[in-house]
Symmetry: C2
Subunit: 139 residues, 2 copies
């Protein structure tokens, strides 16, 4: 069954990991698993380490070339397909490098993940503005 | 640490679920979680239900418009980031609809997933020919 927009938004916010798909000028899609904090229609991620240039990391280079991204969280259980679900958030992303812009996302990530309290992410932030929520659950 | 190509291939083959990213002519990436069987440099998936037209399902339409895809399997454990890993397979996909071409993929999927023994997937097969393996593990 399809999930409502609210249900999709809620399930994504509670997920601990999701996957980010980006695509560069060459038309080759790229996926990475990523940690994130979701607030309303914004999804926030921060790169762990500061790359020398923001074009060094594929996800950042792709977003600069094409801001359209897709984010997916899902639940799989080999023994119980009745419990399967997924939610997808499509939208536009931008890269935030200035300290002022990074402050709120990094704070939210530290609140969500204890690991970031010991060592906060030092790299650029990716902010996704979601324009379309969708989702599905087996039942 | 980066994983070798062999290690990446092996970890993907053992994964029970992965995510497929495709991208259409409009440049919007699309991700879905999917079941699959991996044999060497081929990744095989079958759509559960037969769509009325193969352009009805986004993943199929995108592959027809642009065969470049990316497949990701990953392991996340909130309590133990030391155990995190992911593997990615980039390549080109094609859609197989004829019964002769579907036979081997459907057989492999039935071998891997008991659920398909009760009800085998009835839709088109997606075959990915992997051209690049990559992977990473926390340790």
């Amino acid at each position: 069954m399809n999930l409502s927009e609210d249900e999709a938004r809620e399930r994504l916010a509670l997920a601990r990991v999701a996957r980010l798909a980006t695509v560069g000028e060459d038309g080759q899609p790229h996926i990475v698993p990523f940690t994130f904090a979701a607030v309303g229609d914004r999804i926030l991620h921060a790169v762990d380490h500061k790359p020398k240039r923001t074009t060094d990391l594929r996800r950042l280079r792709n977003i600069r070339e094409n801001p359209r991204v897709s984010v997916l969280a899902d639940h799989y259980d080999d023994a119980h397909w009745e419990g399967l679900w997924w939610v997808r958030a499509d939208g536009e992303a931008r890269v935030i490098e200035d300290e002022e812009g990074r402050a709120e996302p990094v704070r939210l990530l530290r609140e969500k993940y204890r690991q970031y309290r010991d060592r906060e992410p030092a790299g650029p932030v990716i902010e996704v503005r979601v324009t379309r929520w969708s989702g599905w659950a087996y039942r």
